[in-house]
Symmetry: C2
Subunit: 84 residues, 2 copies
């Protein structure tokens, strides 16, 4: 693997895993009033389109990164819609 | 432009622009307690690495999308660190 590919993998790991602490916080506190509902919905829609893009391009890195991020953001959105 | 490229552009526009409502909400309410500080810091670090990746790959779409998203997330982080 070359250095540029490694840079992309590190970047993708950070942007994907960064949402785990937000999931944990929302789950623990059940307090999500400060989170923008519009942001969660539009971000999730964008992630699902990225996922589709990765599938049609046959790029497993794009598929994996966006699938995991979509699960995290879906969990946050689900807590938000239940607990406000 | 082919359909797959268009799909990628729509996906990138959505994931980038999705953070604008969160900036507006944090700016208006000055209330960001529900936002995870760790998420904001790690996400911003990941976006800056994506930006570097786009620069070395010479890919203006990756540069543009991540630069704009990094500005949005940087603004949210700055409101968070000022107002908690």
């Amino acid at each position: 693997m070359d250095a540029i590919t490694a840079l992309g993998l590190i970047a993708g790991s950070l942007t994907t895993l960064s949402f785990a602490p937000q999931v944990v916080r929302a789950w623990r506190t059940r307090s999500t009033a400060d989170l923008s509902l519009a942001t969660l919905i539009v971000f999730l829609a964008g992630l699902l389109l990225w996922l589709a893009y990765g599938v049609v391009r046959g790029d497993p890195a794009i598929v994996a990164a966006n699938a995991v991020t979509a699960v995290f953001v879906g969990l946050i959105l689900s807590i938000k819609t239940k607990h406000g």
